[in-house]
């Protein structure tokens, strides 16, 4: 079970990133919980300033942009290996 967090106050890009993350997990068929982190103090705890940010199992994998599905697939596969 993976925990995926989307960091962002709810702007258009954050919603897009959440949709991409959801689509990738469904395609890969992995069990993942997708959590939206919208409160600024919680976002800042990951030490990023540019949103949207993507966190997989508490590790920040990208921020300030919307990564491609291929990138997210790689990160999820890496995270699965470690668990």
């Amino acid at each position: 079970m993976l925990t995926i967090k989307v960091l962002g106050s709810g702007c258009a890009n954050c919603k897009k990133l959440e949709a991409v993350a959801r689509q990738v997990t469904e395609q890969m068929g992995v069990q993942a919980e997708i959590i939206k982190v919208t409160e600024y103090p919680d976002i800042m705890a990951y030490n990023i300033m540019s949103t949207p940010g993507l966190v997989i199992n508490e590790k920040v994998v990208s921020f300030g942009r919307i990564p491609s599905p291929a990138e997210i697939t790689t990160w999820l596969a890496n995270a699965l290996e470690k668990t």
Binding site: G8, S9, C11, A12, N13, C14, Y40, P41, I43, M44, A45, Y46, N47, I48, M49, S50, T51, V60, S62, F63, G64, R65, P67, S68, A70, E71, T74
Partner: protein
């Protein structure tokens, strides 16, 4: 541009993929230049040839102007936004924060204003950015220099000014935007307004460890630049067309120097009036510039026009609403007041000099 399957390739494939992206970009650049050079003959042919309008008629002049300006501005916007985004892909908010850390007021304000232009920054990141800057010890005034220059020097406005007025006016706009950001930041810093930052900001614990984004590949840079050019052109093209249509109407029908009395140098109140008028007009910068261009031909003064421009892009209501999350109303008021005042002074200065 078929680049979407080229992202996130394994390292061993990086070189050939990047080469492919370079070839596509080079071909697009050639096509861009070819297109750019046929616009004028095409517009003339369309208005005076195909539509057979006499060259000295109001309608003919207005239409030729319209058919020339619309494709020119849209091509310019697409090409320049691509280049600007490319350049910005070498910067990041996190990197900027690291550079500004430990800088004092003065030099820090100058650097922050310059970085405000070149750092990729969307207004929805304004709050985390503000918190991140302030928490890492960057002075409030320096943070404001960044927050002011980012919107005041607006890339769409810059490209439009370049396309319609030439590089001198675009350069003036850039330099005065920077100056306003530096001066306003220094003033806000001197006023010691830290107590008007919302209290929760000071209590946030920013995670430790420097988080810098990975350097993207060239293919990714091109992809981001292409996406942003597409997005911005998609967002503003209608405003450009409507703005240029109105501008073309003014160009063909309003008599010379009709506006000198209202918007000329002699009318002292025109600069503050332009600023007041500009504030609620946010997001229509693309449509406003062509109208303003036509107004200038009819006698409006450059300073008045630039002040209007900067008020339109720099003092936007949506950004104030976002910043209200971290700033108390008093500080928002000071922020608006100082920036508006600086814009008005700049407007007068230009009217004085030119």
């Amino acid at each position: 541009m078929p680049m979407e399957n080229a992202t996130a390739t394994p390292a061993e494939n990086k070189l050939p993929t990047d080469t492919r992206a370079f070839v596509i970009v080079a071909l697009s650049a050639i096509a861009w230049f070819a297109l750019y050079n046929v616009i004028q003959p095409f517009a003339n042919w369309l208005s005076y040839g195909l539509l057979a309008l006499p060259k000295d008629s109001h309608l003919g002049q207005s239409l030729a102007f319209f058919f020339y300006d619309v494709p020119k501005i849209i091509l310019l916007l697409g090409g320049m936004i691509f280049l600007i985004t490319m350049l910005r892909s070498f910067f990041s908010a996190e990197q900027t924060r690291a550079w500004l850390g430990g800088k004092r007021e003065g030099a820090g304000n100058v650097m922050a204003a310059a970085l405000g232009i070149i750092t990729p920054f969307c207004s929805c990141s304004a709050v985390p950015l503000f918190i991140g800057f302030v928490e890492s010890g960057i002075p409030l005034g320096v943070t404001f220099s960044f927050l002011i220059s980012a919107p005041v020097v607006n890339e769409v406005a810059l490209v439009m000014l370049f396309g319609m007025f030439g590089w001198k006016v675009a350069g003036l706009y850039l330099v005065s935007g920077l100056t306003i950001a530096i001066v306003a930041g220094v003033v806000i810093g001197r006023l010691k307004l830290e107590r008007y930052v919302e209290d929760f900001v000071w209590q946030i614990k920013v995670g430790k460890g420097a988080n810098l984004p990975d350097q993207p590949t060239w293919t990714q840079r091109f992809q981001v630049a292409w996406d942003s050019a597409k997005e911005i052109v998609g967002k503003v093209w209608l405003y450009v067309i409507v703005g240029i249509a109105i501008g073309a109407g003014i160009h063909g029908y309003v008599p010379e120097s009709a506006l000198a009395g209202i918007l000329g140098k002699q009318a002292w109140w025109s600069v503050p009036a332009a600023v007041l008028l500009g504030v609620p007009l946010y997001s229509n910068a693309a449509g406003v510039i062509p109208i303003v261009h036509a107004l200038m031909e009819k006698g409006a003064a450059l300073g008045t026009v630039l002040a209007f421009m900067m008020a339109v892009v720099g003092l936007s209501l949506p950004e104030m609403v976002i910043l209200r999350r971290v700033l108390k109303p008093q500080l928002i008021a000071v922020f608006i007041g100082v920036v508006a005042f600086a814009i008005i002074i700049t407007g007068y200065l230009f009217n004085l000099v030119f």
